[in-house]
């Protein structure tokens, strides 16, 4: 195991931010930590990187205890913080070089690695520019470049795609996969289930400080394979409608978001007729209907009773 968390606990006053988290990450995999805002993802990562002190539990990285051998471990970790943490008064190249030097790189090797890291995130042409003029996506990419100059064994990424354009986002997702191919192990945190589903080998779903399920994407979906998700777009919305549908035998979860109604039902329960009847009675029309394959979103919905987007 490259990274092992065991019974990790962090308490802020009487609030349990991280509640007995146990997690194992194998060498060479991309491990996804999926959860809504406030789930405790960043707190967990901060305990691994030594920024936050754990209350109890154990953290072992590369087989070493992070409290006893913190400085040794840190040399081989690259951290992409949730906030864009770069120096605005240093150029992109100087930023990358500074972090490279912090990890012991010097001279021609440093130059080489800086160029490599910037090329990797597609910022080679901006090496001499100050990040002040960068777009959000470019800053995010520089944020990543600074973490990989020293080619770490373990890369910890805390929501690296928050608030950026789709193009930069795709670029980042692709580069995470490339990093894996080049031999790095990645702990990837996000509250976007699509991207976690797309790039991660294994996923841990986190909510309210706890890991509520973990496994491969397929394993997680199998947890609720006996279910079906129906997405409906309605002309009118009406909350008694949700209550009525919830009362139907075989409906596991019903959830309204704008005019989008999501219903989770037991497979082959033949409820579609009853549901459309209720909708018709409420004076609303069904504008579109889709019976979906199971997504991580519905896994989360089933396990927590709330939507990933709404939680937190």
């Amino acid at each position: 195991m490259l990274l092992e968390l065991e019974g990790l606990v962090k308490r802020y006053q009487d609030h349990l931010a991280v509640d007995h988290v146990t997690l194992k990450v194998k060498e060479g995999e991309i491990m996804g930590l999926l959860g809504p805002n406030g789930a405790g993802k960043s707190t967990t990562l901060n305990m691994i990187t030594g920024l936050t002190r754990k209350d109890s539990g154990a953290i072992r990285v590369f087989g070493k205890d992070n409290e006893l051998q913190g400085q040794t471990i840190k040399k081989d970790i690259g951290v992409v913080p949730q906030e864009i943490a770069i120096f605005e008064d240093l150029t992109a190249g100087e930023n990358a070089a500074f972090f490279g030097r912090l990890y012991g790189l010097r001279g021609s090797l440093l130059k080489e690695r800086v160029a490599e890291a910037l090329a990797f995130v597609g910022l080679s042409d901006h090496e001499k520019q100050f990040p002040k003029k960068f777009s959000g996506g470019m800053k995010r990419r520089l944020n990543i470049a600074c973490a990989i100059v020293h080619k770490p064994r373990l890369i910890i990424m805390d929501e690296p795609t928050v608030g950026i354009d789709p193009q930069s986002r795709n670029h980042i997702l692709e580069s995470v996969k490339t990093l894996q191919k080049e031999g790095s192990t990645i702990l990837y945190t996000s509250h976007y289930m699509e991207e976690v589903d797309e790039i991660c080998n294994r996923i841990a779903i986190m909510d309210q400080g706890r890991i509520i399920a973990q496994g491969t994407s397929q394993e997680l979906k199998n947890l609720i394979s006996s279910e079906e998700k129906i997405d409906l777009t309605l002309s009118e919305v009406n909350y008694t409608l949700v209550e009525e549908i919830k009362k139907l035998e075989g409906v596991l979860e019903c959830h309204l978001e704008g005019k989008q109604l999501t219903v989770l039902v037991r497979k082959n329960s033949g409820l579609m007729g009853k549901i459309s009847l209720i909708i018709g009675r409420s004076g609303s029309d069904i504008l579109s209907l889709q019976v979906d394959r199971i997504t991580l979103e519905s896994v989360f919905l089933t396990l927590t009773g709330k939507s990933l987007r709404d939680a937190g």
Binding site: G50, T52, K75, V79, P81, E83, A85, E88, D89, L102
Partner: protein, 370 residues
């Protein structure tokens, strides 16, 4: 050393800190003391010689060593003074030599526009010369030849006159040196606090936290930051010393190096003060507020802007609790004595302040992320 270098580079790239290091202190000093310097050679003395004796001419020669002497008539005095062609006028009345020879009391009338700093040393020169002449006259017992021979010997030796002069003038020049140090002190405090804000900005934008995920201890980080701040304050100080000495021609006490030493210790206090503030507050705004609440009173009560003696006694007592007060005390002592050790007590107190501030500032955070 990576943190030190990086912080240093960034501070020198910052316009405000660059202004505080290189531009503001010299400008303030230049405005206060005037370019070209304040020395005796710049004063022009109008001399009205109504006596026209060898003694009067000797007095003129003595004056010429210290000032530009412009012979003139008594009726021109007020005109020349108001036109600022002379800064001071001196009248040697007829019968001056006679009175001296007879051992009588002599007074030369002198006029100047304001109680200028410049006039005083000249008056001292005149006074010490006439006093010497009187002494020689008494010894010569009315013998003209003996009198002039004695006077010539006296001037050749010159020692006594010189010491008298330096002692008298020092009071004035030392005050100028002390005000220069006061101004430097204010600028040092501002620079240290500005650098501190820079430090806090790194916490706000989370680069500090990111740095702490690298293999680098908090202690090493703090030591490097302290080193960097100290370096930048030393650059500022050295600049001020060089400019004061060579551009503004300011007198910086008997021993410039000793004075420099005092200011190095004060630099330590300033840096420690900044580090302490950084650990007490969270945001740059809080730091800014605290800094402006503290520095101005510290400068005023510490005597950086004016002599402490002119303040009410109660304020002088309050000042005892401020490092600025002890810095100025040390400065005043060292300017006069030239001996670093003369101010040992004050330096001890300053180092104690630095120590306390450093301890406050190096309070280790267990949870860096908070």
């Amino acid at each position: 050393m990576i943190i030190l270098q990086n912080t240093f580079k960034r501070l020198l790239r910052n316009k405000v800190s660059l202004l505080l290091v290189l531009v503001i202190p010299p400008t303030m000093l230049g405005l206060l003391f005037g370019l070209g310097g304040q020395g005796m050679d710049t004063i022009t003395v109008g001399l009205v010689d109504q006596d026209q004796t060898p003694l009067a001419r000797q007095l003129e020669e003595v004056l010429q060593e210290r000032a530009v002497v412009k012979p003139m008539l008594e009726e021109d005095i007020s005109g020349e003074l108001t036109a600022a062609r002379v800064q001071m006028a001196l009248v040697i009345p007829s019968g001056f030599t006679q009175t001296v020879l007879e051992g009588g009391e002599v007074r030369l009338d002198s006029y100047s526009i304001q109680e200028s700093n410049l006039a005083m040393p000249v008056e001292l020169v005149v006074e010490s010369f006439t006093r010497a002449a009187l002494n020689v006259a008494v010894a010569a017992e009315g013998n003209m030849d003996a009198f002039y021979r004695g006077l010539a010997d006296y001037r050749k030796g010159g020692v006594q006159v010189e010491t008298l002069m330096t002692e008298g003038m020092d009071g004035d020049r030392s005050n100028a040196a002390a005000s220069a140090m006061g101004i430097l002190g204010i600028n040092m405090m501002f620079l240290a606090l500005y650098a501190t804000m820079h430090l806090l900005k790194d916490r706000e934008n989370r680069t500090f936290h990111r740095v702490m995920t690298a293999p680098l201890s908090q202690r090493s980080y703090l030591m490097q930051i302290i080193g960097c701040f100290l370096a930048i304050l030393l650059i500022q100080m050295t600049g001020v010393f060089l400019i004061s000495r060579f551009l503004l021609n300011l007198y910086l006490g008997v021993n410039v190096l000793a004075l420099y030493g005092v200011m190095v210790v004060f630099a330590l206090v300033c840096v420690a003060f900044g580090i302490a503030i950084a650990s007490l507050v969270k945001t740059t705004r809080q730091a800014g507020t605290l800094a402006s609440l503290l520095t101005t009173p510290m400068a005023m009560l510490g005597g950086l802007l004016w002599p402490r003696e002119i303040m009410p006694e109660i304020l002088q007592h309050i000042g005892m609790f401020l490092p600025t007060t002890w810095m100025m005390e040390a400065v005043n002592k060292v300017i006069v004595s030239g001996n670093f050790l003369e101010a040992g007590w004050e330096m001890g107190i300053l180092l104690l302040f630095a120590l306390v501030f450093f301890l406050m500032g190096s309070w280790r955070r267990v949870d860096i992320s908070v």
